[in-house]
Assembly symmetry: C2
Homo-oligomer: 246 residues x 2
């Protein structure tokens, strides 16, 4: 599914907050005429973070062809969400626990002022950037590293070693943006946004090009400091065992 | 100036409504420390209609270099607006009365469901379209015609003859959109949105390809019927006498 995260307090259900899980479960509650169906997502996204390819699963108390489920949910869900595809999966499938990887996109506006049309859909960095430096730094991001310096505090996960299979940056001149993409086996809380903030500081010359190597060693969130805004972040694709990477 | 029209009740100042003119005059009120400055726009845009190149003028009670005015206004204006450029103009310049033409862009999403990311930034037409038919019809739109059938009721302007210098349609496959552009010496109230609705009906085969010729004759708004949503419409450029057309 896709969603515009702007008006959601993130993915996860919370009392008195509009969340993606909340609107999904509300739609399913209508479909079942009152049965509580719990939705499981591949992972949470924070308030303001978007999804182009979030994956969810749920146990539906009834038999509905996948195509009809797609139509029914889209007719009941709000317009800032879209169910893109649906399938009946084996009992063993779990949207969160079976993931083998995720791909995130991050958009950065390069205009001097905030762009009125993308203020909710991109971060904003008006300062000079040397893209060659960012590309060098992205080579340090790829591979298996301890990302403790790049995890927001408050996470309960002890093991902070993750593998980044691919990390790219490119320019989109007609939109005056640069965009990042990260594909890895897993990401810690706020990790992509902290990576982007650090990469922008490297591109601006405020950090050494190879500062990532030092940050992996010190394992200290205080030294990475910045967190790029939620508005620029898109969960693009979630991978599962049965798929080849693409 | 540019603005995202989503959260505005149109351009024109209205009591207890958030309007573009209203936020501009509020910013100028702050700059002058309490002098009421009236802002004149090239024309109104309706609630939800966007601008990429709206032009405004005002008489400022003081001497501020144009560049400083640009910076000061952008620092005081909300983030869904952006002043793109500023100049000190002759006393004779009037943003509304001196216009020689306007250019509008209209974006139409072609997805089956509403796209969560463009629901405020495009119209939506999921039905089949024959672009060749639309292109033929656009030939009938170009030129000087009585657009009475394409003007929303309520307008006070008697003369409904306008000249359309150029009218185009093209596809943007990577965004699954078609886009229209209209360049003319003036446009009646809701005219672009009514033109687009009629063109889509022609493309869908629900009207004769040359129905425009009949609609010019009958001078009857009831026969054009549809109005495409405000969300797809962008005031792209306003032309003045001193400029060559571009």
């Amino acid at each position: 599914m896709a969603y515009d995260g702007t008006d959601f307090s993130g993915f996860q259900r919370q009392p008195n907050q509009r969340t993606v899980q909340g609107v999904l479960e509300k739609a399913l509650f209508k479909m079942t005429k009152g049965a509580a169906v719990t939705v499981h997502g591949s992972g949470r996204t924070d308030a303001g973070v978007h999804a182009l390819g979030q994956v969810i699963h749920f146990d539906y108390p009834g038999n509905i062809p996948a195509e009809n489920m797609l139509k029914a949910l889209n007719s009941l869900m709000p317009l800032d969400t879209e169910i893109l595809n649906s399938a009946i999966v084996p009992e063993t499938f779990h949207a969160q626990f079976n993931t083998t990887g995720k791909r995130y996109l991050y958009k950065v506006d390069r205009g001097y002022y905030t762009n009125p049309f993308t203020r909710h859909y991109a971060g904003h960095y008006p300062y000079p950037l040397d893209l060659a430096k960012i590309k060098l730094a992205l080579e340090d991001v790829k591979g298996t590293h301890d990302f403790t310096s790049f995890a927001a505090s408050g996470g309960v996960i002890k093991n902070k070693v993750r593998t980044i299979y691919d990390a790219q940056v490119w320019t989109v001149p007609e939109q005056n943006q640069i965009q990042f993409e990260f594909y890895g086996n897993g990401f810690l809380y706020n990790m992509v946004r902290i990576l982007v903030a650090t990469l922008l500081e490297i591109g601006n010359g405020r950090r050494d090009v190879h500062d990532f190597l030092r940050l992996y060693e010190v394992k200290d969130r205080q030294q990475a400091r910045g967190t790029a805004p939620a508005s620029g972040l898109y969960l693009k694709k979630v991978y599962y065992e049965s798929e080849n990477s693409h």
